[in-house]
């Protein structure tokens, strides 16, 4: 018996701190490559399908935070496994019905090339739709963060902004950020690697719970 196998929907997930998979995609703003975003932070996010309720609320929410992202030097690009014409009709519909103009491009990934490269399709959830994925790519094209949400759950836009703030703060100051950190909160100093440095750390006058857990203000 001949078994006809379905095309592999997922080759693998990209990895943090490695170059993000290059793409050359058809979008609502014309042909775009990942390289076009060099020098900017970029949030690449996928949604399951156009003209669906959760995705529509997310698109409106992403459009609302877009000015704040731009202040942080961050661009946005959406993606779904839909046609360019579906995307155009949907963003026009959102503007007409909700009064919100979608200011960022949306990739029409009908051949799933980008979705496959980024591991956006979760066959256990859906074999034909991308999950709600978020990829944060830095100005050098390095993948810095990934978030995956299920089909049923819309994303939290505050977390998108907080994540960008945290990554930029960590890069600029060589620090880490604690749970629930917000801009202005104290940041974490990296744990010392030797006993000598541990002793010195305690004497440095930082706010330390113990030698390995020290905070400071920026």
């Amino acid at each position: 018996m001949t078994v006809i196998e379905e095309p592999e929907a997922r080759i693998g997930l990209p990895r943090l701190n490695e170059p993000a998979p290059e793409f050359d995609a058809v979008t609502t703003h014309g042909a775009l490559k990942l390289a076009d975003f060099e020098g900017s932070w970029l949030i690449l996010f996928s949604h399951p399908a156009d003209f669906t309720p959760v995705c529509t609320t997310e698109f409106i929410a992403f459009a609302e935070i877009y000015p704040e992202l731009q202040k942080r030097g961050c661009e946005l690009i959406g993606l779904s496994i839909d046609s360019l014409y579906a995307h155009i009709a949907w963003v026009r519909n959102i503007e007409e019905k909700a009064g919100v103009k979608i200011p960022f491009p949306v990739i029409a990934d009908l051949d799933r090339k980008v979705a496959t490269a980024f591991g956006m399709v979760m066959p256990g959830e859906s074999k034909t739709e991308a999950s709600r994925c978020v990829f944060v790519i830095d100005p050098k094209g390095i993948l810095r963060a990934m978030i995956y949400y299920p089909l049923s759950t819309g994303r939290n836009m505050d977390e998108m902004l907080r994540l960008i703030d945290a990554l930029q703060t960590a890069d600029a100051n060589n620090v880490a950020t604690p749970a629930n950190w917000r801009p202005g909160d104290k940041v974490l100093v990296g744990a010392p690697k030797t006993t000598e440095l541990a002793e010195e750390r305690v004497a440095e006058g930082l706010e330390c719970v113990d030698w390995y857990l020290c905070k400071k203000s920026l």
Binding site: H29, G30, A31, L32, K33, A35, D36, F37, G39, S40, E75
Partner: protein, 75 residues
């Protein structure tokens, strides 16, 4: 190509971008002149190059003769 139609007609963005390209312009120059974000400038410049309206050398962009003629025509 969204900014250059098959008959060579330019969209509003394509025309704006072509007009912003002076001799040896950088992507940043064109972005400043047009007020467009860098990724969009890079994308449209690529289209204008493919259409023969712009040439690029060492990261600098200039109108071709064909591009200059197109930019000078109204509409």
């Amino acid at each position: 190509m969204p900014c250059v139609q098959p008959d060579g007609t330019l969209s509003t963005t394509g025309r704006l971008m072509l007009s912003a390209v002076q001799t040896n312009s950088t992507v940043e120059d064109v972005a400043t002149t047009t007020g467009m974000v860098l990724y969009r400038v890079r994308s449209v410049l690529r289209e204008l190059i493919e259409a023969g309206f712009v040439v690029e050398a060492n990261g600098r962009f200039s109108q071709t003769e064909q591009g200059a003629a197109k930019a000078s025509k109204p509409g």
